[in-house]
């Protein structure tokens, strides 16, 4: 009953989204404001409707309604309440509903904003948002109904149906299959919502871009309106990626955080174009250049978001992430094609309006360097895209299935990442409009010398690996350049405002949050780069089978096996096997105890390998319990990784969020502030 009602609500939400598209477009074309207002209200209605549907799905999940196929597939009686709730996005149908629900929340927020200044955008923003939403709700309504129930037909077959087939009876399994244990980790509970938030919030700038194209208001108004949306979208997407990495590191038991899995790349691709977009919109704002390029980037980001969802959800690639497979692929493919062609058509239609207002004047100017940055991001995108589709192409044309694994991506992208680091070092020093080698050289020599000294010290004390030293030099250069620029700004402010240096730093950041938030993000990226360099170049591992009291040695650490125990937790439906090992450093000092674990889930019959981790800024000792003999306990197999510098990655990601929050935090009526500061710019002090 509840399930049928839930499906009914979904259908109503689908029709509401379709109506809002119709009313917005027709109302605008016929110059009928009440109809546009009706579209806006229809759009606002979708979120409560989807919330109602989601509420009913959660009710079914929590109350063990296993006659509903989705509930049967993702929950079991032994799962705790919070996992039954979050199982909402633990499977195909539910996560599509989750997508629509978040999307509805975002479009509702947009339609709630004050529209006095740019009312002409409103109908088209509603239309684009509505089309996207109708597509996703449609997926639920037509292909992946989360409320479909299991019926047993007269010939004994059990299958899920939305409407009860003739001569069938409802089939209620006594227990569900349970959520994949890999998805029961806290990281996995937050990772998908973050990623999805990032995905859906990129729809908003896209909707505004399309509205700008349709109305012909192709100035940078749409960019100014969506600047913060884009930053938030970027924040969520980045958080999704980082959390996914942390989850992989803590749960998958392969000693790494990133495996160049096609589905990881699916989420990484919109991040690449989104990051390029964040940089290139500044060119348009400051110099009025490359408007068509920004349009192209946001279109690409939008379609890569849909493509990413398609890859994850359609099962076109089977990988660790593809827990679900279904027949929604063709629909997604068609939607991507249609939106791509329509958007490209609109850009061509408005090509004349998208011409640059000024000319590029120097290959070393800030805008030119941003273009190089875009070239590099697009290069990495092409490598990723090619790597993901190459196996499909190969299978299609030669019939040969191939794997494109980490070696390809690492070899192909690393020169581009290095070039990006170099650009991050130079670009903050170059000026908008014009820079020469002379002006750049004058600004960069001090940080470059500093970076050289740091690299020399590292060469004597830490490593002689040339690639690592080049990497460390670039990282040091970026950090020093950024600090140098930051410091100069603060000193200037200290001088002009008479503030002490800390206050000057604080106020400087507050007054130009985008610039200095960006600087903090750059520094955080460098901290992350230290971690990535460390684990990529210096990770060592060993595996051995030892008896209690024996030890294994790796990279100066001694891991001594103390004991192992195994017990059931019937309530949670898990068997735990936990070993205790001691970690000693090279001098024989005890550093700590680790408890690597193997959990076995009865309902899904799946094991999980939980590492024991001993973290420091220098290294992380990461111990996995691979195998053990239940009877004699004489031979237990451990795998040990020493991951140098990896914790800089997590540290950097924390600072990263601080940076993005500084850049994206809403100002009180941001637009009025811009106008005011614009007026008094000529008399204000530089460091404002």
């Amino acid at each position: 009953m509840i399930a049928d009602f839930g499906y009914g609500v979904l259908v109503v939400a689908f029709l509401t989204a379709l109506y809002s598209v119709y009313a917005a477009v027709y109302g605008e074309l016929k110059k009928n404001p009440p109809l546009v207002e009706s579209a806006r209200r229809a759009m606002l209605l979708t979120w409560p409707l989807l919330t109602l549907a989601a509420g009913m799905l959660i009710y079914l999940l929590v109350n063990d309604h296993y006659e509903v196929q989705f509930v049967y597939e993702v929950t079991s009686r032994s799962m705790p309440l919070y996992l039954k709730v979050t199982a909402w996005w633990g499977g195909q149908a539910g996560s599509l509903l989750f997508w629509s629900w978040l999307m509805a929340a975002f479009t509702s927020l947009v339609t709630l904003r004050k529209w006095d200044r740019d009312r002409e955008f409103l109908p088209w923003v509603i239309a684009v948002g509505g089309v996207t939403m109708a597509f996703f709700i449609g997926m639920n309504v037509f292909f992946e109904n989360p409320f479909a129930k299991l019926y047993q037909t007269f010939n004994g077959n059990i299958a899920a149906y939305t409407i009860q087939p003739a001569n069938s009876i409802l089939f209620t399994p006594s227990d569900g299959r349970g959520l994949n244990p890999l998805l029961r980790h806290p990281g996995m509970i937050i990772h998908p919502p973050m990623l999805y938030l990032g995905f859906v919030s990129f729809v908003i700038p896209y909707a505004f871009a399309m509205a700008a194209l349709i109305t012909g208001r192709t100035d940078d108004r749409w960019i100014r309106i969506t600047r913060r949306w884009t930053l938030w979208a970027w924040l969520f997407l980045s958080a999704g990626l980082v959390l996914g990495g942390r989850w992989a590191y803590d749960v998958l038991g392969w000693g790494g955080y990133w495996g160049w899995d096609p589905v990881e790349i699916a989420a990484f691709m919109p991040w690449l174009t989104g990051t390029a977009f964040l940089h290139s919109v500044m060119i348009q704002e400051k110099r009025g250049l490359f408007k068509y390029w920004n349009m192209l980037l946001i279109v690409l980001t939008y379609d890569l978001v849909i493509f990413g969802t398609f890859l994850t959800r359609s099962g076109v690639l089977s990988s660790v992430h593809s827990f679900a497979q279904s027949a929604i692929g063709p629909a997604f493919f068609a939607f991507i094609g249609i939106t791509l062609i329509t958007s490209a058509g609109l850009i061509l239609y408005r090509w004349d309006m998208l011409k640059s207002e000024t000319k590029m004047t120097s290959m070393l100017s800030r805008e030119a360097l941003f273009l190089f940055n875009n070239l590099l991001f697009m290069g990495i995108l092409v490598i990723c895209f090619w790597g993901v589709i190459y196996p499909l192409i190969s299978e299609l044309f030669t019939g040969q299935k191939v794997t494109v694994g980490p070696p390809f991506y690492e070899r192909a992208t690393s020169p581009l990442f290095a070039a990006l680091l170099l650009l991050m070092g130079i670009a903050p020093l170059s000026a908008w409009g014009h820079s020469t080698l002379k002006t750049l050289g004058r600004a960069i020599w001090k940080p470059a010398v500093g970076a050289g000294i740091i690299t020399a010290i590292l060469a004597f004390t830490y490593t002689q690996n040339v690639i690592a030293l080049v990497g460390f030099f670039l990282i040091a250069l970026v950090i020093l350049v950024t600090l140098y620029e930051y410091g100069r700004g603060a000193l200037a402010r200290q001088r002009s405002q008479g503030e002490n240096i800390f206050l000057a730093f604080w106020n400087l950041t507050g007054r130009n949050r985008r610039r200095y938030g960006g600087y903090i993000i750059h520094i955080s990226m460098m901290l992350m780069a230290i971690g990535i360099l460390g684990i990529e170049l210096f990770q060592v591992e060993t595996q051995g089978t030892i008896a209690i009291g024996d030890s294994l040695e790796l990279s100066g650490y001694t891991i001594k096996y103390k004991e192992v125990a195994s017990w059931d937790n019937p309530g949670a439906g898990v068997n735990y096997t936990r070993a205790v090992v001691e970690v000693y450093d090279a001098n024989g000092n005890l550093l700590g105890n680790l408890h690597p674990r193997k959990d076995f889930y009865f309902d899904t019959q799946q094991p999980m390998t939980i590492p024991g981790q001993l973290a420091s800024l220098k290294d992380e000792v990461y111990v996995l319990l691979i195998d053990w003999e239940p009877i004699n306990q004489e031979s237990t197999t451990f795998k040990i990784f020493v991951n140098p510098l990896v914790n800089w990655l997590w540290l950097g990601s924390l600072l990263f969020f601080v940076g993005v929050l500084i850049a994206a935090w809403p100002e009180r009526d941001a637009e009025r502030v811009t106008v005011r500061t614009g007026k008094r710019a000529h008399q204000a002090s530089a460091a404002d």
Partner: protein
């Protein structure tokens, strides 16, 4: 009767042969245990292999039973003295090129993104030349000095403040 007599004649050599065979077996297994490749040697090869079922999970870390058997297969082949290349080739022969971490046709996999990137770079540089050309003509009158150009407003003001400070 004759048969039994014959057998008796052969009994001693047969027994000796059997004893030899048994002892040889013992020695061989003992030897094999000494020479058994370590987990690290196995993992080094398994790292670059992917079984067709657990896609995107390299063989060295895959927890499934099937992958454990594959690793034992690698160990056996290492014990038989096969090289890394021979072992990989063995898996390719039986399961196809997909077991390798990279497509065997390297040229095809690297060429396309490389060409695309070069095309992008070419377009960008051509764009730069096009944008800068009219400028070069204008600046036939020498305005080479950087200061002659309108500087970035923000940086200019900051420089001013810093100068005042000194």
């Amino acid at each position: 009767m004759l048969n039994r007599a014959k057998l008796r004649n052969y009994a001693l050599p047969l027994a000796l042969l059997a004893a030899l065979a048994v002892s040889l077996l013992f020695v061989m297994t003992a030897l094999a245990q000494d020479d058994m490749p370590t987990d690290d040697e196995v993992n080094k090869i398994a790292k670059d292999l992917y079984c067709p079922v657990c896609e995107s999970t390299p063989l060295d870390v895959c927890p499934t039973e099937a992958c454990r058997q594959w690793r034992e297969l690698i160990r056996q082949q290492l014990a038989e003295g096969k090289s890394e290349e021979e072992i990989k080739q063995y898996f390719v022969t039986y399961y196809g090129a997909r077991v390798l971490s990279e497509p065997p046709n390297r040229l095809a996999s690297y060429l396309v993104p490389a060409l695309a990137f070069l095309a992008g770079a070419f377009l960008l540089f051509r764009g730069f030349r096009m944008w800068l050309k009219p400028l070069a003509v204008e600046s036939a009158v020498p305005t080479e000095d950087a200061e002659a150009f309108p500087q970035d407003e923000y940086i200019r003001r900051m420089e001013e403040e810093l100068k005042k400070r000194k």
